[in-house]
Each structure stands twice: as C-alpha cells, then as structure tokens.
Symmetry: D2
Subunit: 288 residues, 4 copies
C-alpha cells in the first residue's frame, strides 16, 4: 500500500488502513457506540498528538463518524432518529453551543453536479434567523434565547474565479460569526460507506480533498473562529476501487480511470435524502 | 402622480411620467438613437444636476436604456445584434475598460423565483478568468492583455440571513476588484417594456427597488469602487397596472393586489433568453 | 357581463358573477360547510339541469371547492388537515373508490413554467403501485386490497406536437384504467383565490381553459371512463383584473395586457407547496 | 467471456470482445472510416445472418458508431461537425427520409438522474412541427415539403407504473407515425467510450440493457413501424471495470459493487453537451 496514495476524506478509513499494534495507534483514541434498535453506529476518532496526526495523515482533533445503513431508505421516521443523533453529536462538538451565538453555515460544492451538490442542498433549506433577529430582535420568534444563523453558498472556483476561502474570509470579516459550520461532499475509499456515513470534525477543511477542487483551507487558523466540518462521502475514485480489488496482485494500468469515479446508481436521490437529514440535524442542534 | 408613488426602476419611465416644459427638464439631458434595421432603440438619460436628480427621483449619473421588441424572439442572429450593441454601451460606461482590470460581476436575485432569477442566470454562464490568470498568467489564454473576471451570486436575505451588500463588501475587500458590475431584475411601470428593455447605469444600485427585497445600496460610496448596474424589467406591480388603466378616474380599492405582480405568460422562457443575451454582451465587452 | 367574457375555471366564481333571484339559480344547488378551527371552507356547486348548465356556462355535474387561506403558509400540521379534507372530498367523488381499481393520474401542464407546473409536480411524487402489483401481486405491500395506480405527464403541445388528449387516449386504450384523475393549473377571476383554492369536479376537463393551451376535452365521453379533474387557480388574466377594478366605468384599452397575467410574488414557492398538499391528498384517498 | 457476462450495449464492443478468425466473424461485416481533420471515426457493424447475430449476442441489422474524442470539449465549431456527421448517418438509416413522413421521437430515461437524462434532454429541445402542420399546413413554414415531427418523454416505470412500451404503443396507435426514433443512455464496457460515442441502429431497443430499468422491447415487431435507436454510453458497471482490470487473474469478490457505476466526474456537463449535439443532428436530419 506504500506507494499508492489511498484517497479518503474519512478519518475512519484512514485508521482502518493502518496496520495496528495490539494497543492501537499511539496518540489516536477510538470510541465506538452502537444503537442496535436504529442501527446507528457512532465512531469517535480523537487524534491527540502530533505523532498520531502523522500516522493518520490528518490534523489533530475530533472526528465523529455516524454510520446508518438505512440513511437512504424511504422511511421518514427512521430519518428522524438519524438526524436527532446527528444533532446530539453536533451540539457536542460546537463550542459553547448553549450560549447565544452568531453561526455562519457554508455550503461548499457545485449545485449543478449531483455528487457535489450536498453543501448547496443543505444550505438552501436551513432555518435562517440572523436578518430577523437583527431587525426585530428575538421577540419575533417569542424566544428569550436565539442564535443568529446565516448561510452562504460560495460556488466553485471555475464559476466564481475566486477560491471559496477568499469569499468565506470576506464574509466572516464583514459579519463576524462566532463559529463557522462547513458542509461538503467527500471522497471515500470504499463504496460501502457511500451516502450512508456522515463525518463531523472540529478541524475544519484542508486543501486537496473533497469531490471537486474547491477545497482551500477553512480552519481556525485561516478564519480566526472555530470551524466545524460536516462531510458525506458520495463518490469513490475509480482507480481506488480497482486497486483495492487487485489487493496484492500486480496493479493494472489505471490511467484510463483518471477523472472517473464510482458512485451509486441512486446518487441523485440519495444526495437529496441525506441533505434533508443533515439540514434537519443542524436546525435541531441550533435551537436553544 | 403626487400621492400614488409609481414604482419604476427605469429612468426612462421616470422621465416619461414628468410633465415637461418645452425645453425638457432642467439638468436632465436625453439622447436617443434608433437602429432601424435591427429595431434597437438606445436612449441615454443623463442626470447632470442635483435639481435634475430631485425631479427624476434618481441619483445623478448616466442611464442607458436599450429597447428591442424582438429581444425575446427565437432568432439567434438577431440576438447577436442586440448583445453586440449592449456590449458597445457597456464598454462606453465602464471606466478605463481598455486597460487591464479586475472585474467582479454580481448576480443579484433569487435563482428559485423565475422573475427574479436574471442575475444568477447571467452569472452562471460568464467567461471567468481570474483564477486562471492568477495561477498561470495571461499566457494560458495566449493573450498579451486580459481582464481578471470573477463573479458571485450572493443569494437573497431570506436564505442567507445577510444583506447582499454585506456579502459583496466582504468579497470586494478580500479580492479588491477595480470595478463591480451588478445584474438584477427590475420592476417597470408599463408591461410593454417587460423583458425587452435593458438599462445600464453608472450609479449602482439603490435600496427599495427591484423585484425582490434584496436591494441594499451597492454604490461607489459603499464599495469604494465604481459600480455599473445592468437591469431588466421582468414584472410590473399589479396595483400600478390598474392605477394606470384608471387614469384620472377615482381609484378602486387595490389592497387585494398587494403582493401580486403582472408578468408575461412566457416569463420563464423570456428570462432565460435575455439572460443569455446579457451574458454574451458582458463576455464581448470584457474581451481585450 | 354580457360583452366582456370573464375568464374563470372556477364554478364558484361563475356562480358569484350571476345575478341571482331570491331562490338561487334554477337547476344549480349549492352547499357550503365551514370548518372554523382549520379555516377550511368547502363549497359544493351541483349543476343538475341543462338550464343550470347554460346559466353557469359549465357542464352538468359536481364542483367541489375547498378554500383555505393558510394553504400556502409554512405550518406543516395545518397542511395535513387540508390534505385530509381534500382526501375525503376525493373519496366522495371518485366512483366506487372502496373497490379495487386501476387508476391513471394525469399531470397536465408545462413543468418548465412555474404557474403551469402544478400537474407535473403532483405526478412526480405520487405513490405508484401498478407495476409492482402487476409483477408481484398485492402481497408485495402486505395488503389484501390495493388499487393499481399509474401516472403520466404528457407534456405540452408546443413540445410534443400532439394534443394531450391524443396521448392520454392512447395510454387509456393500452392500459385500460377504471378511472382517470387529471390535475391542472387554472385561471381564476379574482386574485384572492390564487393558490389557496382547490376545485374537484366529476365533469373532467373541457377545451379552452387553464393556464396554458393544453386543454383538449378529457371527459367520460372522450375517454370512455369517468374523469375526475383537480384544479388550482394559479393566475388571473391581467385584463380581467383591470376590468373588474373599472367596474361600470368605460373600459380602458387593454390590448397591452394580452399575454400578461397576474400572479403572486411567491408563486414559485406556493405552487410547490400546494402540489405537495394535493399529492398527499391523492395518496391518502387511494389507500384502501 | 463465457461465465462472466460482459454488459455492453455497444455492438462495437461486443465485436471487440469476440476472438476473431483471420477473416472476421461469419455473417458480420464491418466498415470503418476516419475523418482525420475532425477526428471523427465512424464504424458500421452490419449483422447479416442469424449466425452472426448469435455470435454477437445482438439482433440482425445495422449498428453505426460515431466516435469523437472532442465530443465533450467546449468548442462549438467542432460540435457542429459532429452533429452534421451524425445527421448524415441518421439520414442514411431512416427509411425513405427524403419523403414527407410523420416521425415520433421518444426520449427514454429519467430526467432526474443525471446519467439517465439523455433522452429527456434531447426531446426537450427538438424542432416539433406536427401540431403546426396539422393546424395550419406546411405554409406556416413557407415550405413545400415538411415532416410532421412529434415527441414524447414517457418517464420511468417507478414513476409511471407503466412500461415505456405500453405508453409508446398507445401513442403510436393513436397518432400513427411512419417511423419512431428512440433516444436512450447506454451502458458501455470501457470508460474510454463514455460520453464520446453515439450508436445508431435500425434494430430498435431490446429489453435488459440501458442505464435504468426502463427498457422493454421497442422494435418493428412490437410497434409495427421501423424503429431507429440512438444511444450514448454514459456509465460503465463498476463490476465490469474491476473485472476487466483483473484480466485472467482470479476474480475478487465484487458484490460490494452491485448498484454502483463508474462515470466521468464531468458527467452532468457532458450529458448536457452531448444532448445538444444529438438534438442538432436530429433537427438537421429531419429538414427536407
């Protein structure tokens, strides 16, 4: 596996691909819980040291993965369970969420490309309050406490001529949110996680990953406020699939597979569905 | 006209509704040319003094209106003539357009509301160069001179929780364009101008007009760079229509018409068509 | 009313525009109920005789109108009440609905034109069972009784080159449904009914009405099976509005208003919402 | 090839996968031409005998494949060359195309699923004449000769509850076209042909192939008129890719890849582009 760089945005998969000693990887802590009734598995990977970060190829921080096979099934009751669990995990990872805050939600990705439209889809349906609270106060909602929620879909560089990071920085400096939540489609290593896995991390977003090429650093360092990233793997690189199938046999010529990805036949439907679940989860998590 | 505020974003209509002395309105100069072959009428209204601005209810500056009855017809050759004329007028009004510049184009409006989607539609199809020039230089286009063109669709306040002006200001401060071009759908007073009139002005955009409620000031004062606005009337307020039909008869009760507008039965098709024409015009105007 | 033909597809409005004697119109029976809690008004206009049909300008049959001001509001619980009431009215008007049947649902209109997209929107989200029951039997749904539900969106003549009626007749002869349900956007006379009124009739669809020009006769005579039509007014002719405002004053020149309609500023959102309500109502009504 | 059924809708690929004797396959004739300037390769596979059909696993008839690597590039002039070549091949294969005819064009597939939306996309933009010729005669177009062109998008079984073939049969019996042209997205075996290959055949469409599950027989036998099929491979089965890469090594466990496909990262853009080319080609071929 040494020379072929496996491309995965999931800390869970990064960890699986590392040969472990009996005691796990030093500096990386893993906790797992399983909700049998709802078939929801939550795995927390906490990278605690620089060595752990190096071993994992990911920055230090928390990575929470929620897996639920039925995430794309049509039963609405079940989606409710998943989005509520997701809301709990979000509340756990967003700093000081019980205090009133100004929260900017960023929907990364290209709304015209199915597998990359997760971010825009979620942003389109959020419960947005900042403009109302600013104009009429919390009274408009009959609430004593209220976050000010705003959102933006920056678009992709091929269409804007700007890096998403430039746009986000400008908006952050102008509107001064206390925390930024970024949503994006991810690339996974294994098809079995496509569209049924959500990763939440407090490390923000780092260049060179994601479905499109729209990923510049969006981190606490670059934006000066905490950045929570929510991601869902919607594609696998075609070359990765073939390479994994070949295992230790001599690799085939895979150049033909450049710019190809593997995705579910139902990707259009599934991305809509999961966008809905994440949107519900954010709305629930941001209610005071 | 005194008590019933006629709502129009067109300087041309504002002028028509003023009773003129023999010599026209003081401080307002009007020039008109007509291209008979292509049936394109270009009217320039130049407001030169504060008194003229007061009489017109519009800020001092240039307002160029291009009217072409066939703007929505299906003949592509004809569209070419219109967009070329539009390109000439744009080149005339953008300061120092013959020199290399960084130009940010803003598509105002709501992409999910037909009559308000003009700005987003235009922005989606522009020839964007900033990211390529920044990364690879002008050589990437085999050109010795090249504008750096970028664009953004800020979205509407109900969805973002932010004023468009906040987003644009942030992006302008971050990316420092030399000029901003803003595209938006307008409200007209008369149905005969719907979807066949384009207004270009160097006064930017002023609050309280437009189809949606997404119009904060976007002017040289607020953004610190020249702001060119391109607008197309896509709707008429229903109350305006009835009031105009009634003329000097006693007005009927028009409250029922609040939140109603009059638009063409073909508005969906026509907005797409005219977006295409404006997009072509901008691309042509910004070629060096 | 004599010389200016008021254009309305609503039997309710046709009746309102007729000067009545003390005893109502002969041959036309009207029943009205009002659900105060949910603010739902149901009006049944039953045209019982040829004379009644002549007076009303509509064929003999039942016309049930459901009006609910909050049909376009954002509260989901309330929508549930409306769609359940609609389901009850549908069950009341579809012949033999308690017996297993094959039911074809037709979504008329143009999916690319906002105000005309009601039919296609509803059809896109129905619970379709015919292919499953035919292939696997009712067992696939764990049911002892099950309608076979199919649906089609024929498209508009400008795009198909065929009348909707030709397509529907072909499909009916091929698949032999027991009843046809047709959904279409209507034109109303008054803006106060736009997007908050649903009309159900057992007289099918008659030429020369509706938002688009896609309305050929779809009736028991032409299709040989009962035809239930569900319609929602989404636009008013602009000329009608002005004419109504003018009342008995001399009419203005309204030619400018040809091909113009009046609609709500929120028409895009409202049509989606009401499509959802009708879709839920049909799914509920067709459950055995 | 014996035990693992390679799934391809392309006759070209079926032929490549057969080990040939020196003289080719009996009963299968192949002609190839290459336009160097425009890089367009046209391959005709003519299956002339039952034995040839058996060897190929495809019915007797003509299969014309047009390959052009730049089909998805952004240069419009080049697209013009491709669609003109396609038009020539279409004119060659449609029986009696120089005589006035009634032609029904069917856009198979699901408009909400990117890789399957080819048929609907093409149908949406055709030049439709049947309704005008029927109503106003050829004079409406200032032509002495004119085909009557109609089109339909039947939708997919999951949404209609009907087989496409049922709908098409009904429409054919009702409107009696002289020839039917069917457009559909295909599955290829090799990613190198995705979105840059068009196959035209006079054998119609046969069950069990295509991207979706919407392919019932649409042939001269079932519809009683000649059926021309136009197809473009937009996906490859993920299992096929892996199997091909493995070559003669023992196959890996591929169950994980069920319901997965491999497609281009630009599939959304490419399907739009190629729909445009095919639409232009049909419009050109059907002009008299």
């Amino acid at each position: 596996m040494s020379c072929f760089q496996v491309r995965t945005d999931l800390a869970l998969e990064a960890r699986e691909s590392i040969k472990e000693s009996e005691d796990g990887i030093r500096g990386v802590r893993v906790e797992e819980t399983y909700d049998e009734k709802n078939e929801i598995r939550v795995t927390k990977v906490i990278i605690e040291t620089k060595n752990g970060a190096k071993a994992m190829g990911k920055p230090m921080g928390k990575y929470v993965t929620l897996e639920a096979p039925g995430m794309v099934e049509q039963e609405e009751d079940y989606h409710q369970e998943i989005s509520s669990e997701l809301a709990r995990q979000l509340k756990d990872i967003i700093p000081d969420i019980q205090k009133e805050q100004s929260i900017l939600i960023v929907g990364l990705g290209n709304r015209d490309v199915t597998a990359d439209a997760l971010g825009p889809n979620v942003a389109d349906n959020l419960f947005i309050t900042r403009h109302v609270v600013k104009e009429y106060g919390k009274a408009a909602y009959n609430k004593s406490q209220m976050h000010m929620v705003s959102s933006i879909v920056p678009g992709v560089m091929a269409k804007t001529g700007m890096e998403s990071a430039e746009i986000i920085k400008g908006v952050v400096e102008q509107t001064k949110p206390d925390v930024v939540i970024v949503i994006d489609a991810l690339a996974a290593r294994s098809t079995k996680r496509l569209n049924r896995t959500v990763q939440i991390t407090n490390t923000g977003i780092h260049p060179g990953s994601g479905v499109g090429n729209h990923r510049d650093a969006l981190t606490k360092e670059s934006l000066k406020v905490p950045v929570i990233a929510i991601g869902v793997p919607t594609v696998v690189d075609a070359a990765t699939i073939v390479n994994d199938a070949l295992a230790d046999k001599a690799p085939a010529n895979l150049t033909e597979l450049n710019n190809m990805y593997v995705t579910s036949k139902d990707v259009d439907y599934q991305v809509k569905q999961i966008s809905h679940i994440i949107c519900d989860a954010i709305n629930e998590a941001l209610e005071l």
